[in-house]
Every structure is written in structure tokens, then in C-alpha cells.
């Protein structure tokens, strides 16, 4: 009953008119950035991080969370209606959604995506409500060696397992770790890599890195390479689902949620695997008469399942973020940065030290999902208009917001030069197919992992054996090795066979 009472208190906090307004603005903004190409939830939250200096913690976390999952709803609209795949998470949606839209069923695809997102988001929020406190209770017992291993697991999966290339993923991770090193060492106060520049003593702001890598790099890429890319949009149709659409969607939503939620819970990150898994499952389970629609006319299960899996993963990813303080994606990494700006360190203590905030945040997830359903079903036509914003104005406008985020954080023009430099770096990374998530995760989680490592070794009285002597940390180490080795071994065996 304890959880119930705390959740009700959370609703009381999240339900105040001001907080409802923040949630609404967050959801609306999230949908908008999800729909607009060239700007995603990570960029949007990063650009708005300066508000943490003035807006109260609960309100701004509700706001950021709204952007976070609002963008997932909006993203599917773009991938169904535009013939250019956006972010990887919605690529699967684009495969079938696009086919459906081409055969005049855009409305049904949009409807199943929005309702599926709502169903999955709500179920996953229930899971967060029930399990996050349990995980937090368990996590209190973990010491620095275990934390370090968990962070190492997150680093490994984000950089070496999820991306296209291990070497480029690791490079991106170490570039992020290098950026995280700049500034004062947390334990000894030793200045590192500041080069005598006073602005660098405070470290590199996460806003700069995120906005530079995503927004500025995106704009530079657009001007250099995408000038002649002609986007074609599919025709909208009435947003409605027939009885047969419902019959085919509901099981797909539930299966997608069941596949997606566990992937969000483990500190491994990435929506690619669950969405692809869900797609494969739906294709396999489809009735023969429907299976022919996959890849031809577009099968509704192929939109419903992956969309639900995507939302379930994204929502459940809040469990490792809130209870362990471990982000597994760009956006959760930046949300962690937002918590840090308030001097709050997500982790097992969060549920006791900032319980009002956490429960208001969880309650706002329920509220936000309802708001998003309304925003995305009857009002979808409004968002579709955003796709008509011409590119020059869109990207140039994004640069104005990038300036707000980069300058507003520290009021330093130096940061704007740095922003440009990071933008060029991001452009090179994009062109040579380096993933960006490891940079952001490495930069934010790096200093925390370093502190845990050093504390762990002090516990071991200077010996790294401490990682092998504790059962939990040894188990995690085995998991990390398995995650690194097993996929390669399977691949080698398959190619040998």
C-alpha cells in the first residue's frame, strides 16, 4: 500500500495546474521535435537545460520527461508520412508504416502507432511504479565495485555491442570519456586538461556537447550533403481503425510491450534490438493471409508491435536511470545531467531523498501518456503541417535555439566557439558513421564511473582483486565478458558453418 500512497501523493503534486501546464507544454514540444526532422528529444532537452537554473526541480523534470516520451509519439508520425527514415528507433515503423501510407492507409498506421504507444507507455509506467522501488531497495546494497561494473556494462553495450562497428563505438566512448575528464578531478581537485583556459576548469558543459553533436552537426550535414535531397510525403487519410485493424493490433501491442519493457530495464540501452525483435515476431506470428502484406501493402502488426516495443523500452529505461543512476541513451544521459544540475544524484537513495520528486515524475508519466494520446490522435493533422516547414528556415531556426542552450548555460561567448568546434566534430563523426550515444553517455557517466572505480580500489586497499572477490561484481564481470564474446562467437560459428 505504501507505493499506492506515494503514487497518490505524486498525482497530487503532478496535478497542480502549474505542473500540468509544464507536462502539457513538454508533451506538445516533444511531439513537435519528434515530428520535425533534424531535432530529437536529446537535442531539445539539452537546449532547454539552462532552465534548470531558474525553474524548480519537479516542474522541470516533468517538463523534460514530457519532451522525452512525447518525441517517441511524434517520431512515428514522421516515419509513416515521410519517405526518409529518421532515427533508428522508428526505422522499423517506417518499413511497414510507409507501405501502409502508400496504399492509402496512413490514418490507420498513425492510429495504431499512437494507441500502441499509449498502451505500451502506460503498461511500462505501471512496471516503473511497481518495480523501481524494489530495484532501489536492492540497489542500496550495492557498493562501489558493483556500481563500477554496472557502469562498465552500460559502456560496453552502448559502445561495443549496439553500434555498427566496435572500433568506432569504442572510439566514440573514449572521446566522451576524454571530454568528461576536462576540469577538476572530483576526488583530489586536481585540474586536468584545462590548458590554462579558465572556462575549462568547470569542465565541458553537457549542453555544448549534446547540442553541438546533434543540432549543429545536423545543420552542417544538411547544408553540405542534403541540399538536393527531395523528400516526398505520403497522403494523409482519416485517422481511424477498422474492427479488423483493432483485432490485429491489440495482440501486437501487448507482445511489443512484453518484448520492449525488459530491454528498457537492463542497463544496456538501445531501442533497435527490441523493435527489430518485435517486428520479426509479428511477421512470424501473422496469419498467412496477412503475412503477404508485410513489405508489400504494409501490415498493421508491423507498425503496432515495434511502436509499442519502442515506447515500452523508452519508458522502462527510466528504471535504471532513477534507481541506479545509469543512463543508456542520449536522452536519458541528458536527463541525468538535468538531475545533476539540481545537485540530485539519481540512484537508490533518490527514492528516499527526493521521493516527492520521483513520485511526481512517475505520476506525470501517466498523465503525459493521456495528454499525448489526445495530442496525437485528434490533433495529428496539426503536427503534419510541421512537415511543411521549409528546410533552410528549419535548420537556421534550430541554430537560434542551439545558441540559447549553449549561451544560456554559462553566459560565455567562448562556449559558442566551442559549440561550433563540437559541431564540426559531430559532422565528421556522422560522415564516418560513428555513433553519438557513446560520446554523451561516456561524458556524463565517465566521471561517476571513475569515482566508483577509485572508491572500489580503496575498499580493496589498492588491489583490483576487489572486483573478483565480491560475488555480485564478479557476476557482472562475467556478464560483461559474455556480452562482448557471445555475439562474436555466434557469428564466427555461423560463418564457419
Amino acid at each position: 500500500m505504501d507505493i499506492w500512497n506515494q503514487l497518490m501523493q505524486g498525482f497530487a503534486t503532478a496535478g497542480t495546474p502549474v505542473n500540468l501546464l509544464w507536462a502539457f507544454v513538454g508533451c506538445a514540444m516533444g511531439t513537435a521535435v519528434g515530428v520535425l526532422p533534424g531535432i530529437g528529444p536529446a537535442t531539445a532537452v539539452a537546449m532547454l537545460l539552462p532552465i534548470t537554473a531558474k525553474v524548480e526541480a519537479t516542474a522541470s523534470m516533468i517538463f523534460f520527461a514530457g519532451i522525452y516520451y512525447g518525441a517517441m509519439y511524434g517520431g512515428s508520425t514522421t516515419s509513416i508520412l515521410l519517405n526518409t527514415p529518421g532515427e533508428t528507433a522508428s526505422m522499423v515503423t517506417a518499413m511497414e508504416g510507409n507501405k501502409m501510407a502508400k496504399s492509402g492507409r496512413a490514418g490507420a498506421a498513425l492510429a495504431t502507432a499512437a494507441i500502441g504507444s499509449f498502451v505500451a507507455g502506460t503498461i511500462a509506467t505501471v512496471l516503473v511504479t511497481l518495480f523501481a522501488p524494489v530495484v532501489a531497495d536492492f540497489a542500496v546494497k550495492l557498493g562501489p565495485p558493483e556500481y563500477f561494473m554496472l557502469m562498465l556494462l552500460a559502456f560496453t553495450t552502448v559502445s561495443a555491442v549496439l553500434g555498427q562497428s566496435t572500433v568506432r563505438g569504442l572510439t566514440a566512448l573514449f572521446v566522451g570519456l576524454a571530454a568528461g575528464l576536462v576540469g577538476l578531478d572530483q576526488i583530489t581537485g586536481q585540474a586536468r586538461y584545462t590548458g590554462g583556459v579558465p572556462e575549462l576548469l568547470d569542465g565541458v558543459e553537457i549542453v555544448l556537447v549534446a547540442v553541438g553533436l546533434f543540432a549543429v552537426a545536423e545543420a552542417l550535414h544538411a547544408v553540405l550533403f542534403e541540399g538536393r535531397v527531395v523528400e516526398t510525403a505520403n497522403k494523409m487519410s482519416r485517422v481511424t481503425m477498422s474492427a479488423s485493424d483493432w483485432r490485429r493490433s491489440i495482440p501486437a501491442w501487448l507482445r511489443g510491450t512484453a518484448i520492449g519493457a525488459p530491454f528498457g530495464c537492463i542497463p544496456a540501452g538501445g531501442t533497435e534490438i527490441p523493435t527489430f525483435l518485435s517486428y520479426a515476431t509479428e511477421k512470424k506470428l501473422a496469419k498467412p493471409e496477412h503475412r503477404a502484406e508485410f513489405g508489400t501493402r504494409g501490415a498493421i502488426e508491423g507498425v503496432a508491435g515495434p511502436e509499442a516495443a519502442n515506447n515500452a523500452t523508452v519508458t522502462a529505461a527510466l528504471i535504471p536511470l532513477l534507481t541506479l543512476g545509469i543512463p543508456t541513451s542520449n536522452t536519458t544521459a541528458i536527463l541525468l545531467g538535468a538531475f545533476q544540475n539540481y545537485g540530485i544524484q539519481p540512484g537508490p537513495q533518490l527514492f528516499s531523498s527526493a521521493s516527492a520528486l520521483v513520485w511526481a515524475l512517475i505520476a506525470s508519466l501517466y498523465i503525459g501518456n493521456v495528454m499525448l494520446l489526445v495530442l496525437n490522435l485528434p490533433l495529428v493533422g496539426l503536427w503534419v503541417k510541421l512537415l511543411k516547414v521549409p528546410k533552410p528556415q528549419l535548420y537556421a531556426g534550430i541554430l537560434i535555439f542551439a545558441t540559447v542552450g549553449a549561451y544560456g548555460m554559462r553566459q560565455s561567448a567562448f562556449d559558442l566557439f566551442l559549440l561550433y568546434a563540437i559541431g564540426v566534430l559531430g559532422l565528421i563523426m556522422r560522415r564516418f558513421s560513428f555513433p553519438t550515444a557513446p560520446v554523451v553517455v561516456g561524458m556524463i557517466l565517465g566521471p561517476l564511473a571513475e569515482a566508483q572505480l577509485r572508491n572500489a580500489i580503496s575498499i580493496g586497499e589498492g588491489s583490483a582483486m576487489v572486483f573478483l572477490q565480491r560475488p555480485m561484481s564478479l557476476t557482472l564481470l562475467v556478464v560483461i565478458v559474455a556480452v562482448l564474446v557471445v555475439p562474436r562467437w555466434l557469428k564466427a560459428r555461423r560463418s564457419a558453418a
Partner: protein, 170 residues
Amino acid sequence: MPSSSSPSHGLQTLVGLGVGLVGVGMALGALSIPSASGYAGVGPNFLPWVVAAALMLCGGFMVREARSGGFRNMEDAVGSDRPYWPGFVWMSAGLLANAALITTIGFILSCALCFVLAARGLRLAAGEDGGPRSWVTDTVTGLLIASPVYWMFTKFLAISLPGLTQSGWL
């Protein structure tokens, strides 16, 4: 993409070398960080050395990949293969002018200037001729975006952004 041509492999080699160089730079920087490990056994210079070594190693691997058939598992590139450099110059000019001028001419004018220059680059990249009318449109649009943003952030959210005057409205 197996279709990538040899000049891009040259660039890939450069990227690998660049990463290796960053590693060397990190190592040089790590030299000047005292170890001062105390009880911990690992001091503030431990992670810097790890990062430096890892970057040099990754750089080496990338050079090897580049020299033996190019980077593995490249994602399909979006857009054309040939970069449109004039557009890049316009946008860069916008961003750098913004950085240089924001404290002198204020957020609104500086951002509007950045908007105009960046939009110019993007228009030219898309093959528009960009006559005098588009200059006017872009200037007006830039001001129409920058001004409300400035007021919203400074008045409602109390985030300080530089103004041209002390009034807080311009």
C-alpha cells in the same frame, strides 16, 4: 558499403590518424597530472592514461581498416556524395559571427544574423537562386524567431541572455 571509392579511404586513414593523435595529446596531458593516489591506489592520472592508450589503439585499428578495404559496416550515407562547400562556409560564417558578436550587438540581432547567413547557405545548397527578396524574408523571419525566444527566456525563465540595450527588450 563496399562501393566506397579509394579517395574516401584516404580520408578514413586521416580520421584514424586524427583519433590516434588525440590519444597522443591525451597522453602528453596525462604526463603533467600527478598520480597522488593515496589510499585509492589509482590517482587522478589513471583514467587519462587509459583513455589515451585506448584512443591510440582505436586510431591504429581504424588506420588498419582504412588501409585494408575501408571502415567496416558503414551506414548508408544520407544525401549526395559530393559536399557543397559554399553552403558550409555560409553557415560557418553565421555561427562564428554569432559567437563573436553576441555580447556586443545582443542576442536578437546576432541570432538573426546567424539565421540569415545559415539560411543563405541552405538555400544555395538546395539550388535556389536566392534573390534580394529572400534576403528580406530571411531577415524578417530571423528577427521574428529570435525576438520571442529572447523575451521568453529572459522575461519568463529569467535566463540571462545578452541584449543590445539595458532595457531587456532588445
